[in-house]
């Protein structure tokens, strides 16, 4: 398939797994809307045969909120880069989570701004070099899972492009979950992050996901706090926004 991603980019692996999860769920393509922002990750909407909406940088969740509230029966998927979701779109992210609107948000975390050439993102990390932090980044990172949880997301999970089987499962569970679901996916950008930070090739980065991540709540993490946890962090039932709105319509009509 011709696509715009560089050889070795993790975004293709995310696309593959997303499509497989949807297939597994047996969803009708006419009921699926995939909304994206701007960035390499956002181009994922151009390769699928759903209703697709490629919007503006950082605002994908706001567009998706409009589609979802207008047609609650549709399944809304939103794919974003870490820049999209947590820098320019950070406010929309926490508010979509707070509302607990039934949208599945994928954050493709390559720890950089890929499309604009490797500047640091909110997830790049302290001390890491970027094209706009040539002396090393002096900004701290977010923990996406903690942020999602604090903001009110009722489902939050982290996967990687190395652990594809569990990634597929996480995506399936996230889509099935009624409420705001977040799946953060560590996805390699060999072109910019790999080169700038000496993280190496795509294969090197995939190996690092294998070696530096552990399942949530494992003992290894307690011994070595630098390890990154993957798996489900939050899974709760909470009043969903569109359902609550239906109640509002009922109340208004009955004059309550």
């Amino acid at each position: 398939m011709p696509h715009i991603w560089c050889p070795g980019c993790g975004h293709g692996i995310v696309l593959n797994n997303l499509v497989q999860s949807i297939d597994k769920l047996g969803l009708n393509k006419n009921d699926l809307v995939l909304v994206t922002g701007i960035g390499c990750s956002a181009r994922i909407s151009g390769y699928v045969d759903f209703h697709t909406l490629h919007t503006i940088h950082g605002r994908a969740l706001a567009f998706a909120t409009g589609v979802k509230l207008a047609r609650p029966e549709l399944t809304l998927l939103v794919a974003m880069g870490d820049g999209d979701a947590l820098a320019i779109g950070g406010n929309h992210f926490i508010h979509a989570a707070r509302r607990n609107i039934d949208i599945t948000a994928l954050i493709m975390n390559n720890r950089t701004y890929g499309m604009t050439g490797g500047q640091h993102s909110p997830l790049t990390g302290f001390g890491t070099k970027s094209t706009t932090a040539p002396l090393g980044n002096i900004e701290q990172v977010f923990d996406t899972m903690e942020l999602a949880k604090a903001a009110g997301a009722s489902f939050a999970a982290r996967g990687t492009t190395y652990h594809v089987r569990s990634l597929q499962k996480l995506l399936t569970q996230a889509i099935r979950h009624k409420g705001f679901s977040v799946v953060e996916i560590l996805s390699q950008c060999p072109t910019y992050f790999g080169r700038k930070t000496k993280a190496g090739t795509a294969a090197d980065m995939l190996r690092s996901y294998r070696d530096n991540t552990v399942p949530v709540g494992s003992e290894a993490k307690q011994k070595n706090p630098d390890l990154i946890e993957r798996g489900i962090f939050v899974q709760e039932e909470r009043t969903e926004f569109c359902t609550a709105y239906e109640g509002l319509i009922q109340a208004a009509r009955e004059g309550r």
Binding site: T55, A62, V67, A70, L74, H95
Partner: protein, 388 residues
Amino acid sequence: MKRDNSRDKRLLFLQGNEVCVEAALYAGLGFFAGYPITPSTEISEQLSKRLPMLGGKFIQMEDEIASMCAIIGASLTGLKAMTATSGPGFSLKQEAIGYAVMAEIPCVIVNVQRTGPSTGLPTGVGQGDVMQSRWGTHGDHAMIVLTASNHQDVFAVTVEAFNLSETFRTPVVLLFDEVIGHMREKLVLPEPGEIPLVERLKTSVKEGTNYHPYLPREDGRLPMSDFGGVHRYNVTGLFHDMWGFPTTDPATAHELLHHLVDKIEGAGQRIARYNEFFLDDAECVLISYGSSARSALHLVESRRAVGERLGLLELQTLWPFPAAIVRDRCEHAKHILVAEMNMGQITQEVKKAVSDPERVFLANRFDGNLITHRDIKNVLRVIRGGGM
């Protein structure tokens, strides 16, 4: 004789913002997203009550950018969608307004103007967003912007905004001002069907047959298919082909931009709305719009009473600028005086439109107070060689 109770019910006494709400509902509004800002907030407040009663959707988003994005998303599912704001919020919406232009998504944006720049005078009247409404977003494009000076016309142009938006698949801006938004006056609520409504042109292409969302038709209208329907397609703010997929092909880009501009500029005659008062023999033509036009009309009527040949051209379509009408009505005028509450944003357009720009003068005010008929009269006296 039996009293006509129905007529009483149709007579309302409302704020301009409330009239805008009545008109939007009359036009079939199904979705509203907004963020509070003076002097537009009553629109949100009213719709938060009215829409759920009608089964429509209201959401207060986290900011104006999100509100604009949300109405675009909702419009794609087939609902008539609107947002309302004032100057600072309007600035925030601009990138997404450009997106709606590019992706050809119908929606209505109300801007009840205050005075600026920046947060300016939140409760003061102004008309400073005339140029922002035209050129606020980046790149070349066309824009439809309407305004009104009294509540009956606020109703009519609001319905028209939805009609034009659906006809041309484009965002339409309603540029009111604080005085219009907050002033209370009579509204005769039109009967259902009294003002024709334009509904979205839906594709007749059957399921299983290729639907091209951006295949131009001879009449310029592009039939739409709702998100969630049987035709799946891509929507993007990038230059795109007739399938909606991004392209960098120079010929396709050239053609698309031409299409976006021509469909609106080419329909200037149809979009142009205005009121004329005493123009037939006017020696001096006043040109005004919004609440300024009320003061201008007051002056014209009072000077006519003492025999002065004054006339008023009240613009309701600000963009595309009705240059041909302005040129025609000003042809025999000795003086042309534009009354507006900014530093001359429409005045510049009038100068471009008429044969002799030296005939064009400006009576203005931008201190948060309504321009009065006296303010305009003072400028008129100076133009005619009198002292202040």
